[in-house]
Assembly symmetry: C2
Homo-oligomer: 230 residues x 2
Amino acid sequence: MRIVGVLGGMGPEATIYFMQRVVNAVPARDDADHVPLIVDNNTQVPSRIKAIIEGTGDDPAPVLVQMAQGLVGAGAQALVMPCNTAHYYAEHVERATDAPFLNMVTLSCAEAAQTAPGGKVGLLGSPALRQVGVFEAALAAKGLAPVYGQDDRRVLATIRAIKAQGPSEFAAHTLSDVAAQMVEDGADVICICCTEFSLLAREITAKVNMFDALDVLVNATVQFSTTDRA
Amino acid sequence: MRIVGVLGGMGPEATIYFMQRVVNAVPARDDADHVPLIVDNNTQVPSRIKAIIEGTGDDPAPVLVQMAQGLVGAGAQALVMPCNTAHYYAEHVERATDAPFLNMVTLSCAEAAQTAPGGKVGLLGSPALRQVGVFEAALAAKGLAPVYGQDDRRVLATIRAIKAQGPSEFAAHTLSDVAAQMVEDGADVICICCTEFSLLAREITAKVNMFDALDVLVNATVQFSTTDRA
């Protein structure tokens, strides 16, 4: 089993949820069957929302670079970052070490291309994803186009509520509304691409296929760990 | 907020549960309010049960020492180990680095002494705890005596079932039975001291006061992190 390093804490609850899903994804008879992870559950990464949307606050990039290097120094053989918005800084993380970075955005676009070839992907995530085009290049590379939500303030308020109070029925209802609007706007598939929303993945409904970017990352993590070195 | 390093993976589910409890223990408005943790969720630590009870398999101690050093190297300012049985190796971990080790066994004995001064403590945990006396010295130092379960095979089977299949109603029922026998044998307080059993803490019942060693460790972790340097 190869060791996967996790740039976590964005937020801590989503990181824990990612870890739990990795445990659940492995049929195990004892501890040793599970994927070994080293997790920097760093709750002190400067706010991605503040840096990207509000243009204030510290730059998260140097902190993420340091975390990547720390994880590889501690033995990680690949890196993952269970926070879609933070993938704005993916290139910094990729360049920080020699270990492969399992890019949740790239992997999710490949998944969407299989589900809806040449289609439109509803990105159920932070408004920051649109503002800085986190998914744009990866979608285009797969011949896909994005559909974004129409009410940024409502989505942002939902993220903040989940970070502060945990997942709720109200949040799931709001996100199902947002997804319905995306389908009206032409989305052929919905990608849940905010790890806060992943906490509610089973409660959010949509009239088209829907998948969770976090699930895609979980599968890639298990596959990397359980595959022998090339 | 000071960073706490977690010697984890024993088992991975218990480590995740510890992390979730640390999140739940902090009133938070955003990510940054939460305790930063660096977690070595090392599923490949040699089996404590095999090494201690069966006397076979590799020695976990050198692996735990390496984990402790790796965590401190990555920035941890204190260390915790959410596995009671592994505290058999506590001295190795304590000597491995200069960072303080928040010892779950010592802390739990202090908690028991407050609840039942001079009393008997039912240790609802792995039979390995008795076989190598993990709690003996710490209990004696507080004027307390241990009460152990009578059916080692049943308790061991329950640990293995939880590690393999997760917590179940059947396991909770079994452990309530074991706790009841401990009370018959004179226990004044029950200490849940196996992190697999912590997953069921709310489902296990007893006729005397009961507390979970993991909760004690969660509180110590939050307190260390949120207290300024001395």
